[in-house]
Subunit: 374 residues, 2 copies
Amino acid sequence: MNPPALAITKRIRSTPFSSRVEDFGVIAYTVYNHMLLPTQIRGVEADYHHLRSAVQVWDVACERQVEVVGPDAARLAQLLTVRDLSSFAVGRCGYAPVLDDEGRLINDPGVLRVADDRFWFSVSDSDVVLWAGGLARGLGLDVNVSEPDVWPLAVQGPHSETVAAAVLGDVVRDIKFFRFAPVAYRGHEMLVARSGWSAQGGFEIYVDDAELGGLLYDDLMAAGAAYDIGPGCPNLIERIEAGLMTYGTDVTREHTALEAGLERYCSLDADIEAIGLAALRQQRATGLTRRLSGFMIDGDAVPHNRDGWDVAAGGNVVGSITSAVWSPRLQTNVGLGMLPIEHTTLGTTVEVAVPGGTRTATVVDVPFPGASQR
Amino acid sequence: MNPPALAITKRIRSTPFSSRVEDFGVIAYTVYNHMLLPTQIRGVEADYHHLRSAVQVWDVACERQVEVVGPDAARLAQLLTVRDLSSFAVGRCGYAPVLDDEGRLINDPGVLRVADDRFWFSVSDSDVVLWAGGLARGLGLDVNVSEPDVWPLAVQGPHSETVAAAVLGDVVRDIKFFRFAPVAYRGHEMLVARSGWSAQGGFEIYVDDAELGGLLYDDLMAAGAAYDIGPGCPNLIERIEAGLMTYGTDVTREHTALEAGLERYCSLDADIEAIGLAALRQQRATGLTRRLSGFMIDGDAVPHNRDGWDVAAGGNVVGSITSAVWSPRLQTNVGLGMLPIEHTTLGTTVEVAVPGGTRTATVVDVPFPGASQR
């Protein structure tokens, strides 16, 4: 019996790059922000090795941009995130958790300050456009909130700069990490950021013209031929090794930004008006009761993790491992999961209910050794 | 080459019924409200015939409930929908479009008045919890907005009442169309509504206990054995014949409730405070420029419709057919699409760009003849 197929319909939006990814033979898709996102191009392990050694073009059009523009844009943008945006000049981007009043995660986007009065929240898998729009409506702000047609295309891997420069010009070499700049391509300017959801380095190109995006995809492929370029996608092994959590999998609306381990993106002592900031300060004062942690899991390769696995200590279920996979490089299983704070000391061992039997897992620091080659 | 599989991970939430659907051999899933929704159990045509002749149990857990509760619940619920809720007594449910200030569709949920100060919006595929939560926060309303763990299970088809009564008692026979009541099952009360996303009749059971939901599923299957009961799901042929549009496919945030053909659920002349109502009144005054319509499409079976097909009139692209499929009962292709108002007169013919060649389509009334057997 075959595994269930994904029924691709108009509601599960295709991207300007879908036909190219499918022509290559994409193995598996997920759905992210009501849009197709490849998850396996050649297979998870083959994609992992290729990403770390060559260069990949990623169809991450599902990273939807929520645009906040207008006289009250800066106020709304700051309300939306507990990261202090007062120092964000035009051309800067960064991770900016969006929380509710209890400090729980609504989304963990990146934010780009596109102009003084224009912000893009590059969102993970929830409809931030509705949260921001509802807030703006309720508060009567003079701001426009929308989801413009922008389809990010990422170039990731050790040869990403060489390939991006060949197509977009040497100007991209000057773009610093978490900065972006308008770059001309075939007479059209698009924003290009040095960023991406891997630890291998690269760029995200904010394609705002579908037809041009297809040409760009092909130009990148041609320019990267000498570097074994190929399609890619966020990779399960690589992202766990890098300690990159997934919203919806490792953390959800149930968890605060501090529990998710995002404290360095939370401006807890800033003098800003941001939803959730008071709750985080309160949680800092009273102390965390649980926290996302990294794990090594004993034994041979664990099976596919679909629902989270119970973690037990002293015979009681105390937490859950939410992402796990075999690392062919580290020759062990690597994982992420939420545990009570008293079990998160590095080196602590717990029991994990993996299908087929109980395993021992050890709490370890993330990123895993060698996750980034830069 | 196999079609791309769906990568099932924790973010694509499984339901209390997924294991049962998969044991049966579900062919295809979609993702809806970040959750698995079967789209083909035996194949679209086989599912269609089975739904119309027997009885099916549908895993529609993806119909998430957005709960609005508290002193300001009635005010927020009414703000959220242009349907006049003042006449909605406890125990009544109904279609209740949720719009933005321009009258465009944010969602097309059903609403249940669970108590005087408690409403459930049973939502289609967008995060209404964020829209409602943002509004409540911005307006400073005394209300709690959440998405409780409720996983609807539907029983649909001509024998649905017999089977539901066998498991839940004859009390369900007294539930009128678009009404619901608390019904005891194994000592636990769950809301049961006479409703569902087919024209074949049946119930939606608002399961709020996952373990009990599994038992209920099995009890329904056992009780329906004599009626050829089996798993089912919303069916493409059946829903087009019934004229049921899909939010995200046939209409989107680009379209107003009037353009979507939902005027009978919009209380345009009611004295209520509802977001989008003023825009709809304005649109009624100036006149619609486009409207969702039904179509018959000439020729043999059209291929799978993934992205919408251009509709041309007089050589110009004027609209799009967004859903289409072969009806084995009507022996023609049936479809839905958005056309300029001047082309929506019944009997108008247009040209449709179907993969493989142009077809002639005729505007027809929906529901299609015989869609409902009741």
